[in-house]
C-alpha cells in the first residue's frame, strides 16, 4: 500500500537522501546560500543518528560519545525549516512521477533530489563471512557491536591492510585484543605506499605487537579449535581468532541509482558531471557515492567540495564546479606516521625519484620529481610525518623545488632548516582542504582581529574537518601575528608606543598639528609607512588641513599624495564626486570628452560614480583642470574617507518611494565628503523598505519609512559581509544627521587604523547597545564634542584638487621625472572591447619585439 504524503508548501521540494558527513555539509551549504528560502528541504537518513563525524569514528573507542561526534543536534535544521527523518531508508526513486518511496511504503514528491548515500564496506564473499562475530567498521552501530563482542574474547583479526584496516586494527588493539592483520596484496596500504614504504610500515607495526600477514588470501572461515573462528589461507596455513573485522575496501552505495536507471560506472558509483548532476538533471549525487570522471573520492574533503558545487548549482551559481580533488593523505596508524602525496608510485612520464631510508630508526621517505627536477610530483613518508606539510605545499602549489631538493626528505643535519617557511607559501595556498581555507583567508581573519588559532578556527573553520592541517594552521597564524607585530603589544609601530585611539587623543588634547611635533613629544625614531599615514589621517580628521601641505605630504600614502588611485602599472584612476549618483547630461558629456581626449578607460563603479583609468602622473593636474572647470569636485576615492552615498530615486520618481531618498543622499554626501577616517566609509539611502540602494550593507544605511528614516550602522559588503544593525527608527532629518555625526566621529576617534566600522562594532565592548548609549543617551558626555568636531570638518571642507591646482609647490610633485619630459616607457596599453587597458607582460614583450 502506498499512501502519498503531501506537504503544504508552494516552494519546490528538495530532498536529500543520506545524512552522513557530506549530506550534512550540503545542507549547511545550501542554508548558507539562503536555499531554505528557495526550497522546502527534507532530509532522510538510514542511520538512527543525525550526521556524525565518521572521520573520527575511532575516537568512539577512546572516550568520545555519540554526542561528541555529532555534527548537529538538529538545531540548525529546525531553525531553517529543514525537515529531517532518521531511521528512514529510501528504497526507490520513481523518476517518472518524481517521487521517492520509503521503506515503510510512503511516497513523497520531489522537484530536486540529492543523493548523499556514501558507501558501504565491501565484505569479500569468502565462505563463512556471515558467521557470528564478524563485523565491519563504518557506523556507530558497528562500533557498539564490536565493543560488545570484544568484551567477551581475546583475539581479533582485521581482513584488509589498507588505511581503514590499520585504523581498525589500532581500535582492536585499544580494546585489549591480540590483534592480527591479513592483507591479500603483497604490502600494507597498497594504494598509498610503494613496496619499500609498505615493508618499513610492516616492520614498525609488527614491532608494536600486531601480527601482519601480507600476500595472504583467506579461502574459508570455519569453526576454530582454540578460538571462535579459524581462517584457512590459500597456502595451507591458518589463523585462529575470535573476532573478524572486514575492512577490504568500500563500495559506493548506488542502489537507488541502479534501481531507478541512473547511469552508474562499471564498478559502481553514480556518474556525475562538474555540477554533480547525475544523468537525470534533477538528481545530484555527492560524496562517496558519486563517480566523477570515472573516479570515486573516499575522503571527506572532496565530498565537501562536491556538496558546495551541487548547492551552488541548485542556487543558480554554476561557477563553483567540482573538478577533481587531491587525494594526498597523512595519518598516524597504530602510532606510526604514514604520508602519501600525489603520484606516490612514480608513474608519471619521465619522473625521477629520491629515496631516503634509515633502518635503524625505521623511517622511509621517497620523493618523486619531474624530469627536469623542478617540480614535486609525489612523495611517500613512513615513520616521520614532519616532512609532510612542506612536501604537500610544494606539490599543491607547484612551487619550484630548491636546488638541493633532496634536503626536503633528508634529516636536518646541524639543525639546518629544511621546511618551506610558511612565508614562502603563496596567498592562494590551500591550508585546510576540508573547508577550502587558503592562506589568504587566514591572514584576513587575523587582520580582522582573530588573534589566536582558536579564533581563526571559529571564523574560517580551518582545521575543524579532518584536523590534518592543525600544525600548519598554527604556523600560518603565528606567522601572520608576527607580521602584524601582534603578540608583542597594541603599539601602532616601533615609533609610537600607543594605539591609534591614544594618538588621536594626544593630537586633539595637545593641539598637535604636525607629525614631527607628535614624534618629538610622544614618539621616537623617524616614522614608517604604518604610523605616517595613520597620523596623517588623524591630523586630517582633527584639523582638516590640506593634505599636501609641505609638512604633511611625506605622510601620505601614494594615493593620498597624488590624490588619485594607483593601479597595477603605476598609472592612476580618477573618480570625480557625483553626489548620490545624480549627474546632468552636460557633466556626463564632459567626463566622456575628457576620457576621450586622454584615452582613458571608463567604468561605472559600484558606488554609482564613473572611474577614469590610465592617467599618468603628469596628466592628473591637466585632467583635473578640465573637470573642475566643468564643476566637478574630487571624489576622494583615494582617501580613507567618505566614498559615496549610493541611492535610489525615491519618492520623486518611484511609485513605491515614501520619502525623497535622492535629496537625502546628496545632502549626506555633501555633509560628510571631507571626513578622513580610520578606513573608507560608504553610505546608502533607500526610498522605502524595498531597499534598492542596499543600505543595510553599508557603514551608514538610511531607509525611508512612513515615519521618517531608519538608521542602520556598521554594515559591510565586500570580503566579509555584515548586515548593518538597526540603530534607531523613524528619525526626522535633523536627528538623523545628529546621530550620524556622532556615530562617525566616535568611530573616527576610537577605531584602530584601517578598521572598517563593521569590525570596529564587532570589537566594541557592549556592542550596539553601548553605541546607542553613547550616541543617543550621551552616556560618556561626549556628544557635544563629537558634533563640534564634525561641524569643524564640514566647515573647513576644501576640494583638494582645487587647492592643488592653485599651489605651484604641490603641482611640482606631479612630474613623471624631475629631469626629463618623457613618459614611463613601461606603461603600455592595448585595446579590448573598444577601450584601452594595460598590456600584460606577454603583450609588452610582443610589442617590444615588433618595435625592436
Amino acid at each position: 500500500m502506498t499512501s502519498t504524503v503531501s506537504f503544504l508548501t508552494t516552494k519546490p521540494h528538495l530532498i536529500v537522501v543520506g545524512n552522513g558527513m557530506v549530506g550534512h555539509h550540503f545542507v549547511e551549504q545550501i542554508i548558507a546560500q539562503g536555499g531554505h528560502e528557495t526550497f522546502q528541504i527534507t532530509v532522510f537518513g538510514e542511520e538512527s543518528y543525525l550526521a556524525y563525524d565518521r572521520v573520527h569514528l575511532s575516537e568512539y573507542f577512546t572516550g568520545k560519545g555519540a554526542a561528541d561526534l555529532a555534527m548537529t543536534d538538529g538545531t540548525l535544521y529546525d531553525e531553517h525549516g529543514v525537515r529531517y527523518f532518521t531511521n528512514s531508508l529510501v528504497t526507490e526513486i520513481d523518476r517518472e512521477a518524481k517521487q521517492l518511496i520509503l521503506q515503510n511504503g510512503e511516497a513523497l514528491a520531489y522537484d530536486k533530489l540529492v543523493l548523499a548515500t556514501g558507501s558501504y564496506p565491501f565484505v569479500p564473499p569468502i565462505p563463512g563471512h556471515k558467521r557470528d562475530n564478524t563485523f565491519v567498521y563504518r557506523t556507530l552501530d558497528d562500533l557498539d557491536a564490536i565493543r560488545a563482542c570484544a568484551k567477551q574474547v581475546t583475539r581479533g583479526t582485521v581482513v584488509g591492510g589498507g588505511l581503514l584496516g590499520l585504523e581498525a586494527a589500532n581500535a582492536l588493539k585499544n580494546l585489549g585484543l591480540e590483534t592480527s592483520v591479513v592483507e591479500f596484496a603483497p604490502r600494507l596500504m597498497p594504494v598509498q605506499l610503494d613496496e619499500q614504504g609498505g615493508a618499513v610500515l610492516k616492520e614498525m607495526i609488527e614491532g608494536l605487537g600486531v601480527q601482519v600477514y601480507t600476500n595472504t588470501a583467506t579461502t574459508e572461515i570455519v569453526d576454530g579449535e582454540m578460538a571462535f573462528h579459524r581462517m584457512n589461507f590459500a597456502d595451507g596455513s591458518y589463523l585462529e581468532t575470535d573476532l573478524i573485522l572486514f575492512s577490504a575496501g568500500i563500495r559506493p552505495q548506488d542502489a537507488l541509482a541502479h534501481q531507478s536507471g541512473l547511469s552508474v560506472g562499471e564498478r559502481g558509483g553514480i556518474c556525475v558531471n562538474n555540477h554533480c548532476q547525475t544523468s537525470d538533471e534533477n538528481i545530484y549525487a555527492i560524496g562517496e557515492c558519486a563517480l566523477w570522471n570515472n573516479r570515486i573520492f573516499g575522503l571527506v574533503a572532496p565530498g565537501y567540495a562536491m556538496a558546495k558545487s551541487a548547492a551552488g548549482h541548485l542556487m543558480g551559481d554554476a561557477g563553483v564546479t567540482f573538478t577533481g580533488a587531491d587525494m594526498s593523505t597523512k595519518l598516524k596508524l597504530l602510532g606510526c606516521d604514514v604520508g602519501s602525496v600525489g603520484d606516490a608510485h612514480a608513474q608519471s612520464q619521465g619522473c625521477k625519484v629520491f629515496v631516503y631510508q634509515d633502518e635503524l630508526s625505521q623511517s622511509y621517505r621517497k620523493m618523486v620529481v619531474s624530469e627536469d627536477g623542478k617540480k614535486l610530483l609525489g612523495a611517500v613518508l613512513v615513520g616521520d610525518n614532519s616532512y609532510y606539510d612542506t612536501l604537500l605545499q610544494y606539490y599543491l602549489n607547484g612551487i619550484d623545488l630548491p636546488t638541493q631538493a633532496q634536503a626536503l626528505i633528508l634529516p636536518a643535519m646541524d639543525g639546518a632548516p629544511v621546511g618551506l617557511g610558511v612565508d614562502a607559501l603563496p596567498a592562494t595556498a590551500s591550508i585546510c582542504s576540508c573547508h577550502n581555507v587558503s592562506k589568504q583567508d587566514i591572514s584576513d581573519a587575523v587582520c580582522n582581529g582573530a588573534l589566536s588559532v582558536g579564533d581563526v578556527k571559529g571564523i574560517t573553520k580551518a582545521a575543524t574537518g579532518c584536523g590534518g592541517c592543525a600544525a600548519l594552521l598554527k604556523k600560518v597564524v603565528d606567522n601572520e601575528l608576527l607580521a602584524l607585530g601582534v603578540e608583542v603589544s597594541t603599539d601602532i609601530c616601533e615609533h609610537f608606543a600607543y594605539t591609534r585611539q591614544d594618538l588621536y587623543n594626544l593630537v586633539k588634547v595637545g593641539e598637535i598639528k604636525t607629525f614631527a611635533e607628535l614624534l618629538k613629544t610622544h614618539g621616537k625614531g623617524h616614522g614608517c609607512e604604518i604610523c605616517k599615514p595613520a597620523v596623517g589621517s588623524i591630523l586630517a580628521s582633527v584639523w582638516n588641513d590640506y593634505v599636501l601641505k609641505k609638512e604633511h605630504i611625506s605622510l601620505q600614502d601614494t594615493n593620498d599624495r597624488f590624490l588619485a588611485n594607483m593601479q597595477k602599472d603605476g598609472t592612476y584612476s580618477i573618480v570625480p564626486r557625483i553626489p548620490g549618483g545624480e549627474i546632468t547630461p552636460e557633466r556626463l558629456i564632459v567626463l566622456g570628452e575628457v576620457a576621450k581626449e586622454y584615452g582613458l578607460y571608463t567604468k561605472v563603479t559600484g558606488g554609482q560614480r564613473i572611474d577614469l583609468f590610465g592617467a599618468t602622473l603628469s596628466q592628473l593636474p591637466q585632467i583635473w583642470e578640465k573637470l573642475i572647470a566643468a564643476g566637478f569636485e574630487t571624489g576622494q576615492a583615494y582617501g580613507k574617507s567618505l566614498r559615496t552615498v549610493k541611492s535610489c530615486v525615491g519618492s520623486t520618481w518611484c511609485r513605491y518611494g515614501v520619502n525623497d531618498s535622492m535629496k537625502m543622499a546628496i545632502d549626506l554626501e555633501n555633509r560628510y565628503k571631507g571626513l578622513r577616517s580610520p578606513h573608507k566609509i560608504k553610505f546608502a539611502v533607500s526610498g522605502c523598505t524595498r531597499e534598492c540602494a542596499e543600505a543595510q550593507s553599508k557603514d551608514i544605511g538610511v531607509i525611508a519609512t512612513e515615519g521618517g528614516w531608519n538608521l542602520y550602522v556598521c554594515g559591510n559588503g565586500g570580503m566579509k559581509p555584515r548586515h548593518g544593525d538597526l540603530f534607531a527608527k523613524d528619525l526626522d532629518d535633523e536627528t538623523l544627521v545628529k546621530y550620524i555625526d556622532r556615530v562617525l566621529m566616535f568611530y573616527t576617534k576610537t577605531a584602530d587604523r584601517l578598521q572598517r566600522t563593521s569590525v570596529w562594532m564587532e570589537g566594541l565592548e557592549g556592542g550596539l547597545e553601548y553605541l546607542k548609549d553613547v550616541v543617543i543617551n550621551d552616556k560618556l558626555g561626549l556628544c557635544a564634542e563629537l558634533e563640534a568636531s564634525m561641524q569643524h570638518v564640514v566647515d573647513t571642507f576644501q576640494c583638494e584638487w582645487k587647492t592643488t591646482l592653485k599651489d605651484p609647490e604641490a603641482l611640482k610633485t606631479f612630474r613623471q621625472f624631475v629631469n626629463y619630459e618623457g613618459s614611463d616607457s613601461n606603461v603600455v596599453f592595448v585595446e579590448e572591447r573598444d577601450q584601452m587597458r594595460p598590456a600584460t607582460e606577454f603583450e609588452k614583450q610582443q610589442l617590444i619585439a615588433k618595435v625592436g
Binding site: G525, H526, C528, S554, T558, M566, F817
Partner: protein
C-alpha cells in the same frame, strides 16, 4: 678618468621625506631626500620587481630598525635606500651613490 658624478636636478625639485623619479642613462631612478638621515640623498631603481611597475619613487619612506627604507606603493615590500635590498624577499634593486652639493643633486654613474 673623468668624474662619475652626474647632475640630476636642483635640490628644490626634491620632496622632503619622499621620493621623485629621475632618468639616468635611459634608466629610471628613484631619488629620495631624507633630511634626517646622514646621507640626506639616496638613489635606487624606480622599478618595483614584485609589482612590475616603475613606482618605488612614489612609496612611503620609513625608518625601520635603524635602516632607511621605502615601502612599495603596490604591495608594500620594503627596500633599503642604501643598498636596494628588499627586506621581505631575496631580491635587490639597483642602487647608486648620491649626494647633495651646493643645492644640486648628483648621482654617481658607476654604481
Amino acid at each position: 678618468m673623468t668624474m662619475p658624478w652626474k647632475l640630476i636636478c636642483k635640490q628644490e625639485n626634491l620632496i622632503e621625506g619622499a621620493g621623485v623619479a629621475a632618468m639616468l642613462n635611459g634608466e629610471q631612478v628613484a631619488v629620495f631626500y631624507v633630511p634626517e638621515s646622514d646621507n640626506k640623498i639616496f638613489a635606487i631603481g624606480n622599478w618595483d620587481p614584485i609589482g612590475k611597475a616603475n613606482v618605488l619613487s612614489r612609496g612611503l619612506v620609513a625608518h625601520l630598525q635603524d635602516q632607511w627604507v621605502v615601502a612599495s606603493p603596490l604591495y608594500k615590500q620594503h627596500y633599503e635606500l642604501s643598498s636596494g635590498q628588499c627586506l621581505e624577499e631575496d631580491i635587490k634593486v639597483p642602487h647608486w651613490q648620491a649626494k647633495l652639493e651646493g643645492g644640486e643633486v648628483f648621482i654617481a654613474t658607476h654604481s
